[in-house]
Amino acid sequence: MEFLTDINNAFLPEIIIAAFVFINIFLSLFFNKKFYKTSQWIAILGILMSFASIGFVQAEPTYHAFANAFISNVYTVFFKSVILVASFFAVLVSHKIVRRKRARAFEYFAILFCAILAAMLLVSANDFLSSFVSFEFLALSCCLMSGLIKNYKAKEGALKYLVCAVVASALFLFGTSYIYGITGSINFDAIEVSLQGYQGSMLFALSSLLVIIAMMFKVSAVPFVNWVPDVYKGASYPVGMFLSIVPIAAGFALLSRILVIISNFVPVLGVVIIILALATIAFGAYGALRQKDMKRFAGYSTIVQSGFMLLAMGVLSPYSLAGMLYYLICFLFTNVALWAGMIMFFNSNGRDDMESYKGLAYNNPFYTTAMIFVLMSLAGLPPTSGFLAKFFVLSAIARLGFMYIIFLLVALLLGAIAVCLYFRPIKIMFEKTTETLHLTNKLVFSKFVFYFCTALTILLCMYSSKIVEFCELIAYSL
């Protein structure tokens, strides 16, 4: 009975998602050929049900479920809802893949739901075993999802993803094994208790460094970053949208929860993370500056954005966490809008190189205006939410002290380079060309997602006060 109480109090969204995994697999056995179009509706239903059930979850005070292997509090609930919103958009825009997969549409959604389940488990995992299992689960489901298309690039991207994921999880395990040895426990709460009064040692520092480096794979930051553009290039568009948000959000949730425990005992960890973040931004900016392919460009842009979010993790105060959460919200909507815009373009003419965007400004001014807003938001220019988000994250570093000003300066200059790279697609859209492009108007869902999220990027900047308060509330609950 305790089991059922735990499920009811903390695990309702996950259980619903898991149920829909089985429903999808079951349906794929019997209703393949005829009813493939309903699969999208079933997926939407599943996500909406799961989202609604978040309201029934106990968030305050923290609920320890399943012998403390998983927890549920405001922080995890926030991340779960971010994951569900992102995957909702990803399901909405995946009508093309449903049509193409036909008989296997249900299986595609089963894998997608597995990934959502894994991300939600990763958010709420409370010991090394459950976090490792969900880490692997997320990596495997994302890898399988990115290899779904039947061409070579998808397989190659999936393979690269798998190699990186497996190496990362090996590093994660190796690092956590030492922490287990030092503290004698694998549970986060127990570790926190047994670390009280701990002086810190070389072994602890190195092992936590290993764990952090392994987590960098999930948030697509510097040591494990080469896979990002390749995987995005290979994967289909909805999968790319999913990959660019959900694993990163889940990774940040786990990273912040681990960092809260260990960062007090390893004083240099903050500096290391800030340096990694700056290197990530530099890598992403350098890669995106010479990109000719829009998908790969989106990959590098994701790297830049996650670098900025990682910058806030190096500080780890409630203020900086609130900044990171606000950045995550902005990044969610902006990135969804970017991918939705790319999907609209791709679905109408089947091209994804940057040159094909030439002259778009003269034929589709409305689309171009929205796209400019999205890119400006990613670059962090007003009047979009990206500006405020960058302001937040950078001000968190400014708050630290005078010694950190050099990092702040480097971050600001890298931000200036980032502006440069986001101007490139805009420049191409305004170039003159003879051929006329027309976006087909049948793509209702993509259109809705694109314009809705673009509007949100601007509105989030204006009505930011409430959201900032909300983010601070969540950050304090960690």
């Binding site: 400004a361 003269y362 001014p365 409305f366 205006t369 400019i372 400006m376 220019l381 007003p382 009047p383 500006f387 405020l388 302001f391 950078l394 001000s395 400014a398 708050r399 005078f402 000003i405 702040l408 300066l409 600001l412 200059l413 931000g415 200036a416 502006v419 440069c420 101007f423 420049k427 305004f430 204006m462 009505y463 930011s464 006060s465 409430k466 900032v468 308060e469 601070e472």
Partner: protein, 524 residues
């Protein structure tokens, strides 16, 4: 007073821009142009109303108003509010901006041939960004509008400029953005350290100015120079000028008018508002640096201008010289100098945009900007010559034009300055007086080479106009080589220059009290 909403003043151009962009608006270039022009004129009249009801003896900010969203401040938890307000100096610059935008919208008729819809909406968005900078009462609001300018300027320069203008627009954006990142750094540090001292998170300029003096001097100086770098690229002060000059030269004429007319004003407004208003102690210490920058701007800018053969480049460098005089006035730390600097900024905005307009008119007719390929245009386009004559005299600083008053105030302010050592001041004054002569040289050279001398054969036709591909179109203009809208633009600028030359107090009275307040603050 209810009609005079500062929010309406600032955001109405953006709303008008959205209206033009919206699918409801007819896609007819004449209608778009007329709408934009009418809006510009109405906006100028509306801003004149602000002047009428302005109380010049008021010390603080007038017309203060906060923009709220759902009855909540913009970023309440961070202490950042979207509060707007005006004091005397802001009001003068707001009027200047509104006037120049109106002028530029009128001037666009003959200069802009394509993409009218996007062009006019971008100019109006740019106006919102300009006005927001002048009226922002919060440092982060200031920053928001400051960076908002980049987007319209990028498109205005790259889309309607010369062939390589896309590159120079990008260069301009990167330069300005990098500099503004330093400014952002300074602002963030300022914001958090004033928080650590006063315990209140606030971005309000007035509250920040209270808590500054507690900092160590070197720390204040660090923030001071971070901010100054951001403003210096916008003005531009000379070592940072390359990208700005290139963008100004390669942009289309109305855009160069706006860039040369308003952007230096914005930069120096930033210096007045932040560097002077927040760090009086440091400013007192580093004022000679501003004087040196000003003198370098004058001498080096004049030399650069003398070395050019492109009339638009000469005009762009002339703009640097004009802003150099204002920098001298700011650095002098006297009442005369300060008032002169503000006066000079307004007048420089008028003069430089006028000069750009003249070169633009000439370039439109002749399709060349090389000095050697021009000459004798006074016979072909006499009206343009007459109006250009007034503007050039204003730039040289001939008595009875506003340029004379402004330069006189700045230089005498510099000489009256009590900055030690006195030798430095005197030598700087002498050098800038030499700069005045050089200034006269290149402007008269420009004017002479363009309008006088023997008429070159290709300009002998009654009035010649070329279309975009360089083919001759035989359009006979009624007013000898110049259209009605161009006459309006040039004559309005000329009238303004002469009017302020005869009645400088009309302008000086508006910001007299504000400048007294700022200078009093400096002496503490």
């Amino acid at each position: 007073m209810n009609i005079l909403s500062i929010l309406a003043l600032i955001f109405s151009p953006a709303i008008a821009a959205l209206l033009i962009l919206s699918p409801v608006f007819p896609n007819n270039e004449i209608k778009i142009r007329r709408f934009a022009k009418t809006f510009g004129i109405l906006h100028f009249i509306y801003s004149m109303l602000f002047l009428l009801f302005f109380n010049p003896t008021n010390f603080g900010w007038s017309y203060q108003k906060e923009l709220t969203f759902l009855n909540t401040s913009w970023l309440k938890t961070l202490g950042v509010t979207a509060t707007f307000g005006m004091d005397g100096i802001s009001l003068v610059f707001v009027l200047l901006t509104s006037f120049l935008i109106m002028i530029a919208l009128v001037a666009s008729k003959s200069m802009i041939r394509t993409k009218h819809r996007i062009y006019y909406s971008l100019v109006l968005v740019l106006e919102t960004a300009f006005l927001g900078v002048f009226c922002a009462k919060d440092i982060f609001l200031f920053l928001l509008f400051w960076e908002l300018q980049l987007i319209p300027i990028y498109f205005l320069v790259s889309q309607w400029g010369d062939k390589t203008s896309s590159y120079s627009a990008m260069k301009y954006v990167v330069y300005t953005f990098v500099a503004s990142m330093f400014m952002f750094l300074g602002m963030l540090v300022l914001y958090f350290y004033s928080f650590s001292i006063s315990g209140v998170l606030t971005g309000d300029i007035e509250s920040l100015s209270m808590s500054e003096s507690v900092f160590a001097l070197w720390f204040q100086a660090f923030i001071f120079f971070c901010l100054l770098l951001g403003f210096a690229v916008k003005i531009p002060i000379i070592p940072f000028h390359t990208a700005v000059a290139k963008a100004q030269v390669e942009a289309v004429t109305p855009v160069s008018m706006l860039m040369a007319g308003v952007l230096p004003v914005i930069g120096e407004y930033g210096i007045i508002r932040f560097n002077m208003g927040l760090f009086p102690e440091v400013f007192n210490y580093f004022a000679p640096i501003l004087i040196i920058f000003g003198v370098v701007n004058i001498i080096y800018g004049a030399c650069l201008a003398l070395a050019q053969t492109d009339i638009k480049k000469i005009t762009a460098y002339a703009g640097f010289v004009q802003t150099g005089f204002a920098l001298i006035g700011l650095g002098a730390l006297t009442e005369l100098g300060f008032n002169g600097a503000v006066f000079q900024l307004v007048i420089a905005g008028l003069i430089i945009s006028g000069l750009f307009m003249v070169t633009g008119v000439v370039y439109l007719r002749t399709k060349t900007r090389e000095v050697s390929a021009l000459g004798g245009l006074s016979q072909v386009m006499p009206i343009c010559m007459c109006l250009g004559f007034i503007i050039c005299f204003g730039a040289v600083g001939v008595p009875f034009t506003a340029g004379f008053i402004a330069k006189f105030m700045n230089l005498s302010g510099l000489i009256l300055s009590d900055i030690e050592p006195q030798k430095f001041i005197v030598s700087m004054a002498v050098v800038s007086a030499i700069g005045l002569v050089l200034n006269a040289c290149y402007i008269l050279y420009l004017f002479h080479k363009t309008f006088f001398g023997s008429v070159l054969s290709q300009f002998k036709a009654e009035s010649v106009q070329y279309d975009e591909d360089g083919n001759e179109i035989t359009v006979v203009y009624p007013k000898r080589g110049i259209t009605k809208s161009e006459i309006i633009v040039l004559s309005l600028l000329g009238i303004a220059i002469i009017l302020f030359g005869i009645f400088p107090n009309a302008l000086l009275d508006i910001f007299q009290v504000t400048s007294d307040v700022i200078l009093d603050f400096m002496k503490v």
